[in-house]
Symmetry: C2
Subunit: 189 residues, 2 copies
Amino acid sequence: MGRPRGFDEDQAVQAAIGVFAERGYDGTSVDDLVASLGVHRNSLYKTFGSKGGLYTRALRWHVEHQVRPLVAAVAAAGDIAEAMRRVLAADAAEPGFDLLLRAAVERAPVDPEIAEMVNGCLGELDEALGHVLIAEQPGAEKAARVAALTTALTATVLGLRLRARAGASDTQTTEAGGAVAHQFSRHEI
Amino acid sequence: MGRPRGFDEDQAVQAAIGVFAERGYDGTSVDDLVASLGVHRNSLYKTFGSKGGLYTRALRWHVEHQVRPLVAAVAAAGDIAEAMRRVLAADAAEPGFDLLLRAAVERAPVDPEIAEMVNGCLGELDEALGHVLIAEQPGAEKAARVAALTTALTATVLGLRLRARAGASDTQTTEAGGAVAHQFSRHEI
DNA sequence: GGAATTTAGGAACGATCGTTCTTGACTGGT
DNA sequence: ACCAGTCAAGAACGATCGTTCCTAAATTCC
């Protein structure tokens, strides 16, 4: 059935995640991708259709294989402090969720498909944090309030990573995460 | 002293803020700027030096004239709920702080001058929230804990605006802001 | 009313953008 | 062995990128 491929598709997608996360969509050229992925132009277009197609594939892979496990780890945490610690630890290490962050800022507003993936993923994180919050505060039945708080907590996580990217120190973000977790855990919500 | 200018410099900078905030740095071409600012190429380069120079000027103006008043309004708020309301209201309206958000994500990591401006501005927001927090909780002397909490609160604000950009509804972000403010205000920190 | 000086208006630069085409190398099925 | 089909390699496409150059128009100073 023809000549076999000289590259692994998933491996190429993973490399694309790193490049897009670092330089952004508009800041990444096809030449950059060709050089970083080890996949030649023709194969790239044959396999992914376009630069945008590769980006969508990369974000999908990122969400499903890198962010989803992080969400699962958060959902399995015993308390908010532990959940916060896990999400910030995964954030500081590779691969984190930098591509999701950048996609939310620069692609979601102009690409409905990207927006749907981003919001779906953030919604899952909301849910995970909600489970931890409810398990920790068994007396709180007000689902609406929990939902609002989890939205805020997810926003805090995103914002802390954003500040880390912009130059904030690891200790600053770690302490901030711990402080907000403490604030949420020692009183009822 | 030569032919007078056919454009207002501050007005051009303000227009640039809008364009850069909407399309990002790499997503904005000089042709876009020429068309949106009503300033012709030669004048643009004569006045601002380069695309990057104009971006720096735009961000500086944004921080000093648009974000700073917002920070002042936050600092003057009576409690965290009011501060949160003010920051989210200014966020939903024009001009908000979208350029600061985008700069933090896509320019601060690669441009030290931008990083310094962004972090300085976020630090001011931290301070403003810290004042409100301390005034509200007069018994809390632990400055370190307040600093960590304000870092987290600033991150929450950034994250909520990020989610709004990505498609979250106004009510969702508003309720989230209210919920987190409530969480911070009705117990001591 | 020139001379000097500054801006506006565009054409034009080389470089790079995303994408396509051409050619040859390599494979499985008959 | 040969044909059909897939992939690699790279040249090449028109368009657009950020930037510069040249000329004409408009102002102040003498």
